[in-house]
């Protein structure tokens, strides 16, 4: 077993275990003891080594003042955690919505904790045991929440274990932004579970924007009931260790999910995205588009599984992963998977590691744009395509700014573009 894990779990054993989650935590602890620590031979961790957890000592977290940069033009409810501690007020003035701290929640959360997140994630089990920061959001039936809820986590060292639990009631609608940032060597597990009841609608954003010394593992997990609708967008910058698991379970019929992800990696960063979609009921629809640009000596890992169960007839599921590789020290490892046990379904996946579209390059140049600039435009356009169509315009502009900042570090590596 890993030293890191032993030490991490020691915190739990020595802590007060009278909280409402203790039974659930005990169960996960037991399971963790029976689970092998991932190695390179563990299929789900084939390309992402965990040795950094043992080797790197985390920074001492300081209580520097942190204010979340606001998103210009976007009115949202901001809930801010710094090093795992809530530093903002919890609002209680949205009709039909209750927001409480994980540590203070009880009844409603009982039905959400561990109910959506699959059990096979080792770090998810660690999070079960240690989760302390996070909120529980419950949206009543038919309530349409106009203001997005933005959950910001900032950390500058130490360890934190974040868990959000969200339930969107029947016919209700909500937008949630999970935003994770951090500086200095740090360790974090960051999980969120979402239960969408019948006809519920969720716009979900997860931004993993740590700097390169973070070691973060986490995931967003969704249960979709009948006719519910999920639109999820993930933006990932890599870091020393950055792993995200997205799980979407079609537990009801006629549910619909779109999942778009963008990663932009530089330096020696690793970004590892696993998405898993379970179609257990008929008539579900899933569309996933995952794109990444990988430069310097960074490594991208993508594993996208779509699992159509025996009775999930009339499922439509598509997944597409496209990558641009900028240097020959960078690497992309992608594995789209289909597991299909029903015949009357339409499923497809595609994965490419490729160069730019030469027709587009010619078109831009034929209008007088220089080849270099055309290449830069097309590279940015490649990821921007998944961003520009998001429904909240101020969020789009803010995101484009975030992406551009990072993209500018990479642009000189684009093949055919000389360093300026």
């Amino acid at each position: 077993m890993s030293n890191w894990l032993t030490q991490a779990l020691a915190q739990y054993q020595s802590s007060d275990s009278t909280d409402w989650l203790s039974a659930a935590r005990e169960k996960s602890l037991q399971q963790l003891h029976n689970t092998a620590w991932p190695t390179r031979k563990t299929e789900n961790w084939r390309y992402t080594p965990l040795a950094c957890l043992e080797r790197t000592s985390v920074a001492e977290p300081t209580n520097d003042a942190f204010t979340a940069e606001s998103i210009e033009g976007l009115e949202c409810i901001e809930i801010v955690f710094v090093n795992g501690k809530l530093v903002s007020e919890l609002t209680d003035n949205i009709p039909g919505v209750s927001i409480s701290l994980l540590s203070e929640s009880k009844e409603s959360a009982q039905n959400l904790f561990q109910k959506v997140k699959p059990e096979h994630h080792v770090f998810g089990l660690v999070n079960d045991v240690l989760a302390s920061a996070g909120v529980v959001i419950d949206v009543d039936e038919s309530v349409v929440v106009d203001t997005p809820i933005r959950l910001v986590h900032w950390q500058n060292g130490g360890e934190s274990h974040v868990r959000h639990l969200v339930r969107v009631g029947k016919g209700a609608s909500l937008a949630v932004i999970e935003e994770y940032r951090g500086d200095n060597p740090l360790v974090a597990t960051q999980y969120a579970e979402y239960q969408l009841e019948d006809d519920a609608k969720l716009n979900h954003y997860r931004f993993a924007l740590h700097t390169n010394q973070a070691m973060v593992v986490g995931g967003s997990h969704f249960n979709l009931s009948d006719r519910s609708e999920l639109h999820s967008t993930l933006i990932g910058f890599g870091s020393l260790l950055s792993r995200v698991d997205i799980d979407i379970n079609h537990c009801g019929e006629h549910a619909m999910a779109t999942q778009n992800s963008v990663y932009l990696l530089e330096g020696k960063e690793i970004f590892d995205l696993h998405s898993n979609v379970e179609h257990t009921k008929p008539n579900g629809t899933t569309e996933e588009n995952i794109r990444g640009i990988v430069g310097d000596e960074a490594k991208a890992v993508f594993n996208g599984r779509i699992h159509i169960h025996r009775h999930a007839q009339k499922t439509l599921a598509e997944l597409n992963n496209r990558n641009l590789l900028l240097t020959n020290k960078a690497e992309v490892n992608t594995k789209p998977e289909l597991e299909i046990y029903a015949d009357d379904v339409r499923c497809a996946h595609g994965a490419t590691v490729a160069e730019l579209d030469t027709k587009a390059l010619y078109y831009l140049r034929s209008r007088g744009v220089s080849e270099q600039e055309a290449r830069i435009m097309l590279n940015f356009g490649f990821i921007n395509e998944l961003i520009e169509q998001l429904p909240l315009e101020p969020l789009v502009e803010w995101l484009q700014g975030e992406l551009k900042r990072r993209f500018n570090d990479l642009r000189n590596q684009i093949p055919g573009v000389e360093a300026v």
Binding site: L364, G368, M377, G381, N384, E385
Partner: protein, 265 residues
């Protein structure tokens, strides 16, 4: 006529993969002239535009081409554009994620830079771009969308003309800009072109049909067949072609009346 040619193409030969498409094409266009190029399918009409603009895969094996004294065939695609060559594509490519606005400003600035001018201010550019949109009947929102992304066929063609208005080229090659357009859209395209006729700017209108030429009056009409210009004349030649088809001009005379009919349809 002592005036110097704007475009001069001499003995142009070009091939795609191993197939020779242009087999010694000559064409001379003076400032302000409109030339129509007509001809049967596979004659090399689109190839001419691709070769002059420098598309990859179109290999020049002989001949020369100059635009306002600039040797076109030796320079890069973007340099040809900055030298004043504009090709309005038959099938403009979609470039999702790259906004029209960003793209157009980059190209306008590149053209300005080549002329020793400062980049245009965003404000002024936006004004010009909106103006251009209005002129070709495209809503200004199109500027924010990805280049040609999700545009209908007609919108793509109008977008091409809009770009032409902004870039103010010396020579415009319209590659079947009329194909797939209804009569209203056709008029918009034609009006865009006509508004740019100023006695200096020249046009090459590549088309299958006489129809477009009702709106854009050509000074000369050429018939391109099997990689060469086989006949030239004035606007009346287009009417003649409309009535009789191409077969009387082409070497491989088609014996099949249905085939002949197809060519003029």
């Amino acid at each position: 006529m002592s005036q110097a040619a704007l475009l001069s193409v001499k003995g142009l030969e070009a091939k795609v993969e191993d197939k020779t498409i242009l087999k010694g094409l000559d064409l001379e266009i003076k400032p302000g002239e409109v030339h129509a190029i007509m001809g049967p399918n596979g004659a090399g009409k689109s190839t001419l535009g691709y070769v002059l603009s420098g598309r990859e895969g179109y290999e020049v094996v002989g001949g020369e081409a100059t635009l306002a004294g600039t040797e076109l065939l030796d320079i890069d695609i973007e340099e040809r554009s900055r030298a004043g060559l504009f090709l309005a594509f038959q099938y403009p490519v979609e470039i999702p994620g790259v906004s029209n606005l960003e793209f157009l400003k980059s190209s306008v600035d590149a053209h300005r830079e080549a002329q020793g001018l400062e980049p245009i201010s965003s404000k002024e550019f936006l004004k010009e771009a909106r103006e251009a949109c209005k002129q070709v009947n495209l809503p200004a929102e199109f500027l924010k969308r990805g280049v040609n992304e999700g545009f209908s066929g007609g919108e793509k063609k109008r977008n091409e003309i809009m770009q032409m208005l902004l870039l103010k080229p010396k020579l415009c090659i319209l590659d079947e800009s009329d194909s797939g357009l209804d009569i209203d859209a056709l008029q918009v395209v034609a009006e865009g072109v006509n508004s740019m006729r100023d006695g200096e700017r020249s046009f090459v209108v590549v088309t299958h049909y006489q129809r477009l030429l009702d709106y854009i009056k050509p000074d000369f009409v050429h018939v391109l067949s099997d990689g060469k210009i086989v006949k030239s004349g004035d606007a009346s030649l287009a009417l003649e072609l409309e009535a009789q088809g191409y077969s009387w001009l082409t070497e491989q005379r088609s014996a099949d009346p249905i085939e002949m009919h197809k060519e003029v349809m």
